[in-house]
Subunit: 200 residues, 2 copies
């Protein structure tokens, strides 16, 4: 029986399938969509991928993603440069910016220390952070790594490096998420919420 | 407060978001993945999109997708060309091919008659089907459109066009899906399964 194969179609399905969270069925659906939509749409997607890949790199100050030499936050005159919020990932910057309440600067590590995955401190953007603090003018460094084992370990490691530079090192508060349900909160979160209770 | 924007990144998120089944969060995840992975991977994805879009078109016989003038099924010597299975979509051909039991040819309509969506018979590849049947040598046309209102209506419409051409027109069997559970089968499916019962 002749097998029905269309190599460019199979390549496209494979390429979509290599993206995170896209399984074989979804990849097929995306591939057929690309073939069914107007050609300009397909060109726009391919162009956006190549364009983003060639124009976006890390900010030379905070290591966040930017299409300029220094990102718009680091260039801003109104941002408080004496407070640096250290995050794992550019997505975390986007999440914090959505609060519209944080007006200081960031530093993106691009990962966490994770010996199991072979990621040590030297693979993260830690030297750049130390250089910023050493350059002076920084009063506080907020550790906003994720509340996971690796995130905690990275925060701890950085705080040991930063404290001798006489800068205040803080950590995001732990507690129950707003809109959450006590019944479904895990024990560790609840005991952290109790520990960190404040007067009303 | 300075807003953090990276236009190439936002364009990429928008482009991913325009794909079916991809929401804003997933689009962001895909965009950051494209930026984090090696550049060759991003080029491979963009290249696969452009390549598929420029090399894949419809087979001039059966209207299925192919990168050649005539698809591999229509070119095959071992396929039975006297039986044509009419499907809505190239994905349906892939589904039927996976059974590895069907050894005839296909005809892809690229849609169904759907007055609500403004799709009439003239927008489907119906003339090509009539031309194949008129050319002679076709004994049977199997209607394998989906068991939906539009799929049924399209099958009915085609069968009325084809019957005067003295060709046998058949429809896929309705019944309970293999591995399914009678308890959860809907009434219409169950009564169709009873109607179509066969001797053991």
């Amino acid at each position: 029986m002749a097998v029905y194969t269309v190599p460019p179609l199979e390549n496209l399905v494979d390429a979509f399938e290599s993206l995170p969270g896209i399984g074989h069925k979804s990849a097929q659906r995306l591939a057929y969509h690309v073939l069914a939509e107007p050609e300009e749409e397909a060109k726009r997607l391919a162009g956006a991928i190549l364009d983003a890949r060639s124009h976006i790199h890390t900010c030379k100050v905070c290591c966040n993603l930017t299409d300029q030499e220094v990102c718009s936050i680091c260039r801003s005159e109104t941002r408080d440069k004496s407070v640096i919020c250290v995050v794992e990932d550019p997505r975390d910057v986007a999440a914090l910016e959505r609060t519209q309440e944080f007006n200081a600067s960031y530093h993106v590590l691009h990962g966490v220390i994770s010996p199991l995955n072979g990621i040590g401190p030297e693979q993260l953007h830690i030297k750049e952070l130390l250089a910023r603090v050493n350059a002076g003018g920084v009063k506080e460094v907020i550790m906003a790594t994720n509340p996971t084992v690796e995130g905690e370990a990275t925060a701890m490691y950085l705080s040991r490096l930063l404290k001798p530079l006489s800068v205040k090192v803080t950590r995001l508060a732990y507690g129950i998420p707003v809109g959450g349900d006590l019944e479904y909160a895990d024990e560790v979160t609840l005991s952290r919420a109790l520990e960190g209770r404040s007067e009303m």
